[in-house]
């Protein structure tokens, strides 16, 4: 079973990009979410928010074009789209916390069946760890999508009954997109919406630490 093909990180990002409605204000976190901007469908225009006070962030700066006063949350030089704006960090997080962003996409270490998220510190890891904007974003986004691999490198489920890693937020995740499926967090539990090609629900369940339900057979993930 571990030999079966899974979605690549790029494909997870591509599938997540399909969740963004036209015209949405969107914040993308570190890791896989940061790849999403490269996969936007042609007919969809979204406005990217950055926690350091940018709305209307464009593509990454090309060599020679970099301006280090214009960087994203990962310190990467970026560009602006026409109609972009700057504001200070408090207003940037007023947008994250206050329910002004339509969608936020974060990376994750663990997500519980209740939608609790752990994404800022690995227990026992060296160093201070860092929260950054994750807790504000988790608490306030209208819709929170988490993109991550379905299992750890050692094969342990990252979708669990209860998170054992330090928490970022409680009951904040709406949708989980992994290399094996698209799963919605519902009050009644985890609902498998789509599954990676070639995988069965039973196989997926074995790699998931909490019960999955689905309406009949979950369709395979397809890319438009």
């Amino acid at each position: 079973m571990p030999d079966k093909p899974r979605l690549t990180r790029g494909q997870i990002a591509q599938r997540a990009a399909m969740e963004l409605p036209n015209g949405a204000y969107v914040n993308l976190g570190w890791g896989i979410p940061n790849l999403i901007a490269d996969y936007l469908p042609k007919n969809v225009e979204v406005y990217f928010h950055s926690e350091n006070g940018i709305l209307g962030m464009g593509r990454r700066a090309r060599p020679g074009e970099e301006d280090y006063d214009l960087v994203d949350a990962m310190k990467v030089p970026v560009t602006l789209i026409p109609g972009a704006s700057f504001f200070h960090q408090a207003d940037a997080h007023l947008m994250t916390r206050g329910g002004h962003l339509d969608v936020a996409v974060l990376g994750g270490f663990q997500v519980s069946e209740k939608g609790d998220l752990a994404n800022w510190k690995i227990p026992g890891a060296k160093g201070s760890g860092g929260i950054g904007g994750a807790m504000d974003i988790a608490a306030g986004a209208k819709k929170l999508i988490v993109c991550m691999e379905h299992t750890t490198k050692e094969g342990a489920p990252k979708i669990v009954r209860q998170c054992t890693y330090p928490l970022t937020g409680l009951a904040c995740v709406d949708t989980i997109i992994t290399d094996l499926g698209v799963i919605d967090v519902k009050p009644e539990g985890l609902m498998l919406r789509e599954i990676a090609p070639g995988w069965s629900i039973e196989e997926l369940q074995k790699l998931t630490g909490a019960p999955l339900t689905s309406l009949g057979r979950a369709p395979e993930i397809k890319f438009v």
């Binding site: 214009l70 960090q89 609790d116 504000d136």
Partner: protein, 225 residues
């Protein structure tokens, strides 16, 4: 006119005593008061409580002050994987850390600036940052009580100041600077350029002069940056 312009970086930081609580602006390499940090490093002020988003990048930004052993306590949201000196000193307990969600760091400073005594938020409920904080349910949501963060000094970076202390910022180098300017007893700004009063259009002022106490033109003066 109030005279806020200092001729040198050294004079702008001359009275900062050991044990001061100091806010430092900047995020992601942009908008750090690197010249004021150099001046404070040279002065050798010790036992500082530093309030900043992160803790430097190797020798850069606040890294220099950690390298010099000048900082004792940190309030930050994302110390950063490249905050080498800070991480070493945290591991050996030479510095202590209060980790705060980034937006809550902003709001706690803004609460101090606004004369608010505290506020409730859903951010951090059920996580490590809720430890020891009062919790109550408001509007059906679990919330924790967060206290203001005030500082004796804010060291910030802006692009342009007029003689009165009205400030504008360049691109995303704005970040924490305008918030910190409002939350400290004495705000010291380093700028690329000082212009006559009236040169900045009133509707384009980002930080009004009332929040700015000392101005120093730093670009190309003495230190790099």
């Amino acid at each position: 006119m109030r005279h806020k312009i200092h001729a040198s970086l050294d004079s702008a930081v001359a009275d900062i005593p050991d044990g001061a609580r100091i806010m430092f602006g900047g995020f992601g390499g942009a908008g750090f008061p690197n010249n004021l940090i150099q001046a404070l490093a040279l002065k050798g002020t010790k036992d500082i409580t530093a309030i900043s988003n992160n803790c430097g990048t190797h020798d850069g930004e606040l890294g220099l002050m950690f390298k010099n052993g000048q900082i004792r306590h940190v309030i930050a949201s994302f110390p950063g994987p490249h905050s080498t000196y800070f991480q070493e000193q945290l591991a050996t307990k030479k510095v202590t850390l209060e980790l705060v969600p980034q937006g809550i760091l902003c709001e706690r400073m803004r609460a101090a600036a606004a004369g608010l005594c505290a506020f409730y938020t859903t951010v951090g409920v059920g996580t490590e940052v809720a430890g020891g904080k009062e919790e109550r349910v408001i509007g059906g949501k679990r919330c924790i009580l967060e206290m203001p963060i005030h500082a004796d000094y804010a060291l910030i970076k802006a692009e342009t100041a007029d003689e009165l202390g009205n400030l504008t910022y360049r691109l995303a180098a704005r970040n924490f600077n305008p918030i910190m300017a409002m939350a400290a007893t004495a705000t010291i700004v380093e700028v690329d350029e000082i212009v006559p009063a009236g040169s900045i259009k009133p509707e384009q002022v980002v930080t009004p002069a009332i929040f700015v106490h000392r101005i120093v033109q730093a670009k190309g003066v003495r230190y790099a940056g």
